[in-house]
């Protein structure tokens, strides 16, 4: 809540906030351009690139064929040679087609060249489930990018964060994987009229509390906040910590909250096995063990592909109710 109030704020949608960020950066810097599938004439499958073609013309926003590996590679090459491309991959799942360009090329370029080459590129893509889009359009794959040195990884939860972080991501000299969430595109929030930036690596306390810390990002943030409201009615004050960017990770903000509440639940939509939550858990164990009053708990997606049936889908990822239950278990010390 700390960062979202401004004198002249309006309420706009997450996707509109992203659209504003793109346009502002494109006005500010002629090297910023956008490419992806149906981003120009149609304004993007999720409407994030709406009206950009009209304002900036076809040199600054390009519709591509369905050729993810190569148009992402085009972004990498343009970035190396002085541009700041923003590449849109229609669904995070489709980024599995571009792993060579991201993991072998973009992530390592600056390193392999001894620091004289840079890849200032942003890859925007929506992840997550909730619409019955089934197993190949619903994944939360942030762990793959989190695992790869050389990439930054941003997962905003609110319109305010989405705008401020996308602007910083575009100005960053490293490749940034910017994972949006399908369920968040139409959500609304306050966004100032005036320009602002949110630095990568700076988390946000989305709600203050002293009984337990819930660490959540992307679409798990609104769920954690809704769960916190319910718990507050029972006298349990939960602190919701949103790292906002997973790489770099605001460890200090997390540890500070842990030291205060002494109880931690990490909520992630991605499958449990090999996830970011496990890594954050290990950081807490190594750096704040003495402060803990109970074992760190993780509430994560089940180790399964996402089913099509909506009711089944709902049972595969954390929901408001399951977060409420998990916090109670954490505080009661009962079995998860």
């Amino acid at each position: 809540m700390s960062t979202t109030t401004a004198v002249n704020a309006r309420t706009i949608m997450y996707r509109e906030a992203l659209n504003e960020a793109l346009k502002e950066e494109m006005r500010r810097d002629p090297t910023v351009f956008v490419l992806g599938l149906q981003v120009a004439a149609r304004g993007g499958s999720h409407k994030v690139t709406k009206d950009i073609l009209e304002e900036f013309g076809p040199k600054r926003i390009l519709d591509t064929p369905i050729a993810e590996a190569s148009f992402t590679g085009v972004g990498v090459g343009a970035a190396i040679t002085g541009m700041r491309p923003v590449v849109e991959i229609m669904f995070l799942d489709f980024s599995m087609l571009i792993l060579d360009q991201i993991i072998n090329q973009a992530a390592k370029y600056e390193f392999m060249t001894g620091g004289h080459g840079k890849v200032p590129m942003v890859l925007r893509t929506p992840g997550g489930c909730g619409n019955g889009l089934a197993a190949q359009h619903s994944q939360s794959l942030e762990a793959l990018f989190y695992h790869t040195p050389g990439l930054k990884l941003v997962m905003p939860a609110t319109p305010y964060d989405a705008k401020g972080l996308l602007k910083s991501a575009i100005r960053d000299d490293d490749p940034v994987i910017f994972i949006e969430h399908k369920q968040l595109y139409m959500t609304k929030g306050e966004v100032p009229e005036t320009e602002y930036l949110i630095p990568l690596g700076k988390g946000d306390i989305k709600r203050s509390g002293h009984n337990a810390t819930v660490i959540a990002w992307s679409n798990m943030v609104p769920r954690a906040l809704a769960a916190a409201d319910k718990l507050a009615q029972e006298g349990i004050e939960v602190e919701v910590v949103d790292p906002r960017s997973l790489v770099p990770l605001d460890k200090e903000l997390i540890l500070e909250s842990v030291r205060k509440t002494e109880h931690v639940l990490i909520v992630q939509e991605a499958v449990r096995r090999g996830g970011v939550a496990s890594d954050i858990c290990s950081i807490i164990m190594e750096e704040a063990f003495d402060y803990l009053d109970a074992p760190v708990r993780i509430l994560a997606g089940l180790n399964t592909p996402i089913p099509f049936n909506l009711n089944l889908e709902k049972h595969c990822v954390p929901q408001e109710e399951s977060i409420v239950v998990a916090v109670k278990h954490l505080l009661e010390g009962s079995e998860p």
């Binding site: 148009f71 972004g75 343009a78």
Partner: protein, 320 residues
């Protein structure tokens, strides 16, 4: 008509690549150079003929077999040897090695450890130049092996639909690592694939530097004039296996002998030069190259190793 000076410059570069690699292979055999080393021996005329038609500000994208491209685009051999030795003074400060030498300052986006990994990047540098309204072209070097990778077809298509100034240079040396081309494709004339994307293409003798240069010259001006991408297939043959430790037993000895003894790009270039220059001058070029390479080796050997503490501090600062 090609000038004597240009011919001398191209011969010097071919001789430079040949000497650089021959000398570095010695260092490799002595154990001083580690890792993978993919020699460009036998293919030198392609990089040299092509890059001679480029301007300094034009871009190239190279491959794992990339030493020749680096030298032809203007890299310094001292920093190259230093990189192969893993030294702090190398192009990548010892972090990249043979397969990752890049020199953005001379327009070289870099070698690449992934076959086909750089092709799309080259389309990107061309797109960037086109957005900025510059007339820079990009030459993308890749092998016959890469043409069977999906990203080749995708990239050719992107360059075609956006009408970008890209020269796709297929270095057709008959092998994808050790796999012969004839079992990898139904038609070994790879330039023909361009027709499916409505891209102009030619096939030339990649061992003849004049042939490569003349085709490149024509092609580069076509690209620069905004007429879109082109494909040049350069037929060639390696002088040895895929890398230094590959004896290349699968390469038929008669064919290998032909390419080494009767159709060697170095001999061909030397003959051309001798038609215009007396032998003493050619020898003087060779002497100066030999000296430059020995100085490069001395520089590299005397250079410091990367500092471990500094490296570890960089890792923490940059990646955590």
């Amino acid at each position: 008509m090609i000038s004597k000076e240009l011919l001398a410059m191209m011969y010097r570069q071919i001789f430079m690549i040949r000497t650089f690699e021959t000398r570095c292979i010695k260092l490799y055999r002595s154990g001083a150079i580690r890792g993978y080393f993919h020699p460009y021996l036998g293919e030198e005329a392609i990089a040299v003929g092509l890059c001679a038609a480029l301007r300094k500000e034009d871009y190239i994208v190279s491959t794992h077999r990339g030493h020749g491209h680096c030298i032809a685009k203007g890299a310094s051999v001292d920093r190259m040897v230093a990189e192969l030795l893993g030294k702090e003074t190398g192009y990548c400060r010892g972090l990249g090695g043979s397969m990752h030498i890049a020199d953005v300052a001379t327009g070289n986006l870099g070698a690449n450890g992934i076959v086909g990994g750089g092709i799309a990047m080259g389309v990107g540098s061309a797109l960037g130049a086109s957005i900025r309204g510059e007339d820079r072209v990009t030459a993308i070097f890749f092998s016959d092996g890469a043409t069977n990778n999906g990203v080749f077809g995708e990239s050719l298509n992107l360059a075609a639909i956006w009408n970008l100034p890209v020269i796709f240079v297929i270095e057709n040396n008959d092998y994808a690592a050790s796999t012969p081309l004839e079992i990898s494709t139904r038609d070994c004339d790879l330039y023909k694939r361009a027709a499916a994307y409505c891209v102009t293409a030619t096939q030339v003798d990649g061992n003849d530097v004049l042939v490569v240069y003349e085709e490149a010259e024509k092609t580069v001006s076509q690209c620069r004039a905004g007429k879109g991408p082109v494909v040049i297939e350069c037929k060639t043959y390696r002088h040895q296996g895929h890398h230094v430790n590959d004896p290349g037993e699968y390469m038929p000895s008669e064919k290998l002998e032909y390419y080494k003894k009767q159709h060697d790009p170095l001999d061909i270039a030397r003959r051309y030069l001798l038609e215009k220059t007396e032998e003493a001058k050619v020898k003087a070029i060779e002497e100066s190259v030999l000296k430059e390479i020995e100085e490069a080796v001395a520089f590299a050997e005397a250079s410091p190793e990367p500092d471990v503490q500094e490296f570890l501090a960089d890792v923490v600062r940059k990646y955590n």
